[in-house]
């Protein structure tokens, strides 16, 4: 008998097959992924997840008998009180008396789980996020460590044995250190001559010469060390700057009376996309939710999307809150700060001056990117596109012209979210490339 430990063999033999399966069912899986996003919260958006697709897409047909029709006989265990000749009513839907209950899964859908990576791939594949934007968005640096050749000094734990032995050997060769074999040969000859009886005439001289040679060899061997301190080589490491891997995203939403469910839904979709995008670029993404009426508050996700507070609109209150949170918890030096703001743009004229100055003076300098999304009623899409603008839009427009990291877009319909999002990031990338 023979035992083999295969646990260290790479697993994931099925990975290729799995990918092929996903590729085959791609269109359906993608649809399913998008559908499943509807029910997810922002933070869970990119978690691994269960999806189900129609079974017939990936059905593997075989020639087999139909489940119905014809005459059949079957044997079952566990008879209680049937007697020969008893008649039983045919169970609904099937010819056989066999019960299919207890098989758990329905037969119509094919359910399986996607890993986080697969999920994102399928989701973002559809989005075609520009790679350029990603690079641009990664700012700041921390130190990482990488190999950088060898040095003559260092920590014993970094000693490179192969390199050291190589050095020692070339030194021994260069200085012609006698080999152990040379010594052995001399010793052997001495022993041979000494053992000879009677000795030959010139044995004495020969012996003397050999003894001399032996002491030379031994001396040289002692003098020229096998390994010398000058041979030692240590692996060297150096620090290199690496992109930071943390970001914070602020979701600012207007929840004043004028915001409808539809508008909130648009906003939510936009936040979700942004979050997903950031999670791909950074190892660690924090999300801060701030909602505002004429007063702003930092809230949890649940409250953010489902609270029923209502009131007037004071955009500056949200910006104040944003600045306050940044000062408290997110030092701009350490964090990449992103802000997404959603509002219907319906604001108090008197507030706009303050909003603009807060933007210009405080927020934009520390923000990596600020996206303002103006959400409108679906049914007004046509009218508004003609050119009606809101107070906030008018106030923001010059800011946007002056700052590359501030963008604003108007959306009325769900289907506009993806294109707008894509455009926002792509444009930046393209602009940067051409500049």
């Amino acid at each position: 008998m023979h035992i083999v430990d295969r646990r260290l063999n790479p697993g994931g033999k099925s990975l290729v097959n799995r990918q092929r399966f996903l590729r085959r069912a791609r269109a359906y899986v993608q649809q399913a992924v998008r559908d499943s996003l509807k029910d997810r919260s922002i933070k869970d958006l990119d978690k691994e997840g269960q999806i189900s697709i129609q079974r017939d897409v990936i059905h593997e047909p075989t020639l087999h008998r139909a489940a119905q029709g014809g005459s059949r006989e079957r044997v079952f265990p566990g008879n209680h009180d049937y007697m020969e000749g008893d008649k039983i009513k045919r169970p609904d839907g099937g010819a056989g008396a066999g019960s299919k209950a207890g098989q758990g899964e329905g037969n119509d859908d094919f359910q399986f789980a996607l890993s986080r990576e697969e999920f994102l791939d399928l989701f973002l594949d559809d989005l075609e996020l520009p790679d350029l934007a990603k690079r641009r968005l990664i700012g700041g640096a921390v130190d990482g460590i990488r190999r950088a050749g060898y040095s003559t000094a260092g920590n014993p734990s970094n000693l490179s044995v192969p390199r050291t032995m190589q050095k020692a050997m070339s030194r021994r060769l260069a200085l012609r250190r006698p080999k152990g074999a040379d010594l052995a040969r001399i010793e052997e000859e001495i022993a041979l001559i000494e053992a000879r009886t009677p000795p030959l005439p010139d044995d004495a001289t020969r012996l003397e010469a050999l003894r001399e040679e032996r002491s030379t060899v031994i001396r040289r061997r002692n003098l020229i060390a096998y390994i010398d301190p000058v041979d030692l080589r240590y692996r060297r490491f150096e620090t290199v700057p690496k992109p930071v891997a943390q970001a914070v995203m602020f979701c600012l939403m207007d929840v004043s009376g004028s915001m409808t469910e539809h508008m909130k839904d648009l906003a939510k979709r936009f936040f979700a996309l942004l979050h997903l995008f950031l999670s791909r670029c950074y190892e660690h993404v924090e999300v801060v939710f701030i909602h505002h009426t004429d007063r702003a508050a930092e809230v949890d996700e649940q409250t953010f999307f489902y609270s029923t507070v209502t009131g007037g609109t004071l955009v500056s209150s949200a910006l104040d809150k944003l600045i306050e949170v940044v000062q408290e918890r997110f030092r701009p030096d350490d964090w990449n700060i992103y802000v997404a703001q959603a509002s219907d743009g319906d604001t108090m004229q008197s507030d706009n001056g303050r909003v603009v100055s807060l933007m210009q003076q405080e927020i934009l300098p520390f923000s990596q990117y600020f996206a303002y999304l103006e959400v409108g009623r679906e049914e007004f899409a046509d009218i508004e596109s003609i050119g009606t603008t809101t107070g906030l839009w008018q106030a923001y427009a010059p800011v946007s012209d002056a700052n590359r990291n501030f963008v604003m877009r108007k959306v009325h319909h769900r289907r506009e979210i993806y294109p707008v999002f894509r455009e926002l990031f792509q444009r930046k990338g393209v602009a940067e490339r051409s500049s």
Binding site: M1, G11, R72
Partner: protein, 513 residues
């Protein structure tokens, strides 16, 4: 004063290590080989992780296999079930090869490893080596090499011709896989190694004789139409092995496509014995592990606690739900095999009058092991059930037979566990295991060679049960694609020869190129 010392148990906790696995094996081996006189291939035990078990599961339990999306589909289903806890993983997986490869999962407890070694390394292993169906059909020595070849060959095809064309051929071949076995053995060497070598030779020959000039040689006048009988004989018709027929006679297939059909067909053939001996194979392994575990416990090699753990998992394995329990999904092959085998043991040891009447050859013979070994070697599920399902067991399981006649509104209880019913129940249950009945009888019957080369396939309809129409249409499309011309499938009643239904499919011309 001397005290008979019981040996110290092999292990007490649930942890195991390699030396323990060795000791377990070495303790079991003499029990299996000397006391039970089992005859096995050398064992190779491989420890794998749960993820690797999922991998292995997904390629029909084979350690290496060519790549195909349906294995990926298998994998995601299994993984889903496993994660949800709907299904545990098998504790073991065993491969009919020489040496016999046994996979043990690292997550198993020491008791489970003991059980698995007894079950797979001795039970299944003995069955693989000795059962006549396996002897006739499988080449335990060559299978792993052949799979290696298949994997490499298909990968090469993908490189040369692209992934999609290869996938199409594989999809089509898989759809016809069940129609890719020879059901009746002929004298034929089963040497899969030589198969691989032969294909290499064929390829080399083709390369050597390739000469583009031949394409331009004018062909002579058309020969007269051949009489249909001679034509059929020349094509080897009727032919039930559709994949074989396509491989040999498909007019539009390229040689690599034929070779892929051949690979799928040979693999289907390799698994064919397993499908015919499920209950016996599992029964044999279960009976063996039960004997061995009991012996180990009696002799003090395993503790009472460990034996209890074993019993609980053994009971789960051989549990047979009743028809109305909601968990019923047909007969559990473990329960059926083990049930009949334990019953045979009883008949050999303590036969009743009834047993003597029903089983005169074995009743009271005393040596149950000899009887069982003979059965393991010379029967398959169908003959096993039809010979050895005893009245005692029929009563114990309270078996009954239902007749569902076409055109009648009610089902009829045709037989129950009484004097009048025993034989009928036994015959009926055996028929459920008859492989010829489990699968529709489908044959290629003719090709219209003089005309449009239409391929005619016939399904001999038994008891009025026709093919599942949706699937049949899809498979037929695949068949037409492979054949390259129209295909007609007729469903003909096997008794009256009346045609009940016909399907046809035109090839998709874009398919082959």
């Amino acid at each position: 004063m001397t005290v008979a010392l019981a040996p110290a148990p092999l292990f007490t906790g649930s942890d195991w290590d390699f030396s323990l696995i060795n000791r377990i094996h070495d303790t079991i081996e003499p029990i299996a080989l000397q006391e039970m006189k089992l005859d096995i291939y050398p064992n190779q035990i491989e420890i794998i992780s749960a993820e690797q078990m999922l991998d292995a599961y997904s390629s029909i339990g084979m350690p290496l296999f060519y790549k195909h999306w349906s294995f990926g589909k298998q994998f995601v289903t299994n993984e889903m079930m496993y994660r949800k806890g709907l299904r545990g993983l098998a504790y073991e997986l065993v491969i009919n090869s020489d040496p016999c490869i046994n996979y043990l999962m690292q997550e198993n407890s020491a008791t489970m490893q003991t059980l698995v070694i007894a079950h797979a390394a001795f039970g299944h292993n003995h069955f693989f080596k000795n059962n006549y169906v396996f002897k006739q059909w499988t080449d335990a020595e060559g299978i792993l090499d052949y799979l290696e070849f298949a994997k490499r060959y298909i990968a090469q095809c993908e490189e040369r011709y692209g992934q999609l064309p290869v996938e199409r051929v594989l999809d089509a071949a898989h759809a016809l896989m069940n129609q890719g076995v020879h059901r009746y053995p002929r004298v034929r060497p089963r040497d899969l190694k030589a198969e691989a070598a032969r294909e290499a030779e064929r390829q080399a020959y083709r390369d050597r004789i390739y000469d583009d000039l031949w394409r331009t040689v004018p062909t002579g006048a058309k020969a007269d139409a051949i009489p249909s009988d001679a034509r059929r004989a020349a094509l080897g018709l009727p032919q039930e092995n559709i994949l074989y027929f396509l491989e040999k006679s498909g007019p539009r297939l390229e040689s690599w496509q034929r070779e892929i059909l051949r690979i799928v067909r040979l693999i289907a053939q390799y698994f064919y014995p397993q499908r015919q001996t499920k209950a016996m194979n599992e029964g044999c392994a279960t009976y063996t592990h039960y004997r061995i575990m009991t012996t180990l416990h009696e002799r003090g090699w395993i503790t009472d606690g460990s034996f209890m753990e074993f019993l609980s998992s053994h009971t789960n394995v051989v549990y047979q739900p009743t028809y109305d329990s909601g968990q019923f999904g047909g007969f559990n092959p473990y329960a059926l095999g083990f049930g009949i085998m334990s019953d045979i043991e009883r008949i050999c040891r303590e036969p009743t009058e009834e047993d003597r009447e029903w089983f005169p050859e074995i009743a009271g013979s005393g040596d149950a092991m000899e009887v069982l070994k003979d059965i393991w070697a010379n029967y398959r599920d169908e003959s096993f059930v039809s010979q050895f399902l005893s009245p005692h067991l029929i009563r114990q399981w309270r078996l009954f037979k239902i007749l569902d006649k076409q055109g009648e509104s009610e089902l009829r209880v045709d037989a129950i566990h009484d004097e009048r019913g025993y034989r009928r129940i036994r015959r009926s249950l055996a028929r459920e295991y008859e492989i010829g009945r489990q699968e529709p009888d489908i044959q290629v019957v003719d090709v219209d060679l003089a005309g449009d080369r239409k391929l005619i396939v016939e399904h001999a309809v038994l008891d009025g049960v026709q093919l599942d129409a949706g699937d049949a249409t899809m498979v037929l499309q695949n068949l037409a694609n492979l054949w390259g011309y129209e295909v007609l499938l007729k469903e003909v009643d096997s008794e009256s020869r009346k045609e009940l239904k016909s399907h046809s499919a035109q090839p998709n011309m874009a398919w082959l190129r």
